[in-house]
């Protein structure tokens, strides 16, 4: 088998602040091939965004990668100098962010913001860049693209702005696109449009897409595979279908169950996952989900489970996966929703 396009191995990230050291990412690994659509799902604070920032090398002053490697085109990105990494960022690996309102520079025209990427990485001259920018805007579905190059971000609606961000990201035809909660700040109807756009772009460009979100509905529509993240680790990985139909990790099960459904009786209570996200300054022994888990056993508290293959292409990090157990003393049976 050929080398994967991007290979992340045991990535570890820490934040060093004056008060405490924080451990957002505690060893994650995944591979990407061209055309892959990978979803990373988890609640706020699980480390999903931090891991991609680390990958891109834009962690900021207090964040440091303390372990692991990111192999892209036979180089470990983590070992590159900033100058070398700069030629990868925006060009080979691109990223779009959650809030298009604040992620665009308010005092520059969007035309400028797109052409600067083209001119920096592809050395285009002004005219060529402008033309290309108009083409890109058109491609992402902005009407009267050429006319809108001179407009400012505040003159666009939220959905349009996100399209602009996508245009900026794919300008240099990157191999990998990381989308960090791209639809969270948008209306539901616009969400669908943006996701459609992403899907078609992935197909056209043959790039790999990493879609980070807390919303299961989003991955269901777009991602072929999904990794569920909790407390800085992947707790379950597999095809999206497998995860939805046969969730193995209690957390995954909890996530699925907590989505309100139209076909349940109106009086049914919303399901929640009890407890709250872990304190990131502590590293606990044992499974980090144990405090909130209905399936926890003694072993869960004692030792941290590693990802194990429980079915072809489907792995889970759990001592007591859903399909093989019954929660202690609980009337609920493990199973699917």
């Amino acid at each position: 088998m050929t080398q994967p396009l991007l290979s992340v191995r045991d990535l570890e990230v820490k934040f060093f602040t004056r008060r405490a050291t924080i451990h957002p990412v505690n060893g994650i690994s995944f591979d990407l091939n061209p055309g892959d659509t990978l979803g990373i799902v988890g609640e706020s604070g699980c480390g999903k965004s931090v891991s991609s920032l680390a990958l891109m090398g834009i962690l900021g002053k207090t964040g440091k990668v303390t372990g692991g490697e990111v192999i892209f085109e036979e180089r470990d990105l983590l070992k590159l100098s900033n100058a070398q990494m700069r030629s990868v960022r925006g060009r080979q690996i691109a990223m779009i962010f959650q809030d298009p309102m604040t992620s665009l520079n308010p005092v520059l025209t969007i035309g400028r913001q797109i052409t600067e990427v083209l001119r920096t990485h592809l050395q285009m001259d002004k005219e060529a860049a402008r033309k290309e920018a108009a083409t890109l805007l058109d491609r992402v579905g902005i009407p009267s693209a050429a006319d809108r190059l001179g407009d400012y971000p505040h003159q666009f609606s939220g959905g349009m702005r996100q399209r602009v961000m996508i245009a900026m990201a794919i300008a240099c035809h990157p191999r990998v696109l990381i989308a960090d909660e791209p639809t969270t700040a948008l209306d539901v109807t616009i969400q669908a449009q943006i996701l459609d756009l992403l899907r078609s772009l992935v197909a056209e460009e043959e790039m790999a897409l990493v879609l980070i979100t807390h919303d299961l509905g989003v991955v269901a529509g777009v991602c072929e595979r999904t990794n569920v993240m909790y407390a800085g680790r992947f707790v379950e990985t597999g095809t999206t279908r497998d995860l939805f139909e046969r969730p193995q990790h209690p957390y995954t099960l909890g996530l699925l169950r907590s989505v309100p459904r139209l076909d349940r009786p109106k009086t049914a209570r919303l399901e929640t996952i009890k407890g709250s996200p872990r304190d990131q300054t502590q590293i606990l022994t044992g499974c980090s989900f144990a405090p909130r888990c209905a399936y926890a056993t003694d072993e869960s508290w004692a030792e941290t489970p590693l990802l194990r293959e429980i079915a072809p292409g489907h792995r889970v990090a759990c001592w007591n996966p859903v399909s093989t157990s019954v929660p202690a003393g609980s009337a609920e049976q493990g199973g699917h929703s």
């Binding site: 602040t17 480390g47 304190d279 990131q280 300054t281």
Partner: protein, 298 residues
């Protein structure tokens, strides 16, 4: 997640404490603010214990009249001035004047400003418009110029410059109060109070004003700093106390400004006194501002 969220995750484990205690703690941890507090305390002590600290009577002539007065030397820590008076004692007694003047001017500005601002904020309507327009006009004339204008109308003198500087301070406090009050008017606890029938003045006095104090305290400290500078400036320009033997720092600077070679100590000591006292106030004012609202990065 961002660093801020990460820090928030850490801070979540702290216990909630009172607002004032929080602010006080933050203030204590700020070295610059502590230095400022120390400076201010020193000056207050000097002012209070002036008769003990000063080595001579500030008005008494102990040396000769001289165009080239002696610099620091035996018996006279800061030398003599042109009238043969001990300079150190004059600087020490000058502290009393400066602090007094600073306090009074700020008091004048604060009380008037708070009154006007409260009226504007609470009553709204045309009262608000008229008052604030007037404040805007006052604010568009720079402080010292306005003060000069007022002194020109009132005549020179210590009281007059205190009033002038006080009046100059009014718009800032008025604006501050009005903003604070308007901000509070929409808040839930005010609406709650009103809904159970708590009357106007009571609401204002018992509830709204106490919650608006914090920025006022910060501003008052900073205003005192500018007051001291402005008053010294007015004295320097010859608009201050008419009595030449008053040891006002600004005046002392003015007297020695013309021929610097004759005695730089004449200029240096009162000037440094001004700088240190104002610096102390600025440091404390800044420290207070940060202590009360640490989110501000200024």
């Amino acid at each position: 997640m961002s660093l801020a969220e990460a820090e928030a995750a850490v801070l979540r484990t702290d216990e909630p404490s009172g607002l004032w205690k929080d602010a006080f703690d933050r203030f204590k941890r700020n070295p610059a603010a502590l230095v400022g507090a120390l400076l201010i305390l020193t000056f207050i002590l000097i002012a209070v214990f002036a008769p003990v600290i000063a080595t001579h009577d500030p008005h008494a002539q102990v040396g000769n009249l001289s165009a080239n007065p002696e610099g620091p030397g035996d018996g006279h820590i800061m030398g003599l001035d042109k009238q043969g008076r001990d300079y150190f004692s004059r600087v020490v007694y000058g502290t009393r004047l400066s602090l007094l003047v600073g306090l009074v001017s700020v008091a004048v500005g604060l009380s008037l400003g708070v009154l006007l601002g409260s009226l504007a904020g609470y009553l709204g309507g045309w009262v608000d418009v008229v008052i604030m327009r007037f404040m805007d006009i006052m604010l568009s004339i720079p402080g010292l110029l306005l003060a000069i204008g007022i002194v020109a109308a009132l005549g020179r003198g210590l009281v007059q410059i205190m009033v002038a500087v006080g009046i100059v301070n009014v718009p800032v406090f008025a604006r501050l109060l009005r903003a604070a009050i308007l901000g509070q008017m929409d808040s839930d606890y005010v609406l709650a109070g009103r809904s159970v029938g708590v009357g106007g003045w009571r609401l204002l006095g018992r509830h709204i004003l106490p919650n608006s104090i914090a920025p006022v305290i910060v501003q008052a400290t900073l205003a005192m700093a500018t007051a001291i500078i402005d008053v010294a400036g007015l004295s320097f320009l010859g608009l201050g106390p008419a009595n030449p033997s008053f040891p006002e720092w600004g005046k002392m600077l003015a007297d020695s400004a013309s021929r610097l070679e004759q005695g730089v100590h004449l200029v240096f000591f009162p000037g440094i006194a001004i700088v240190l006292s104002v610096l102390g106030l600025n440091l404390v004012g800044d420290g207070l501002r940060e202590a009360i609202d640490p989110r501000l990065k200024t």
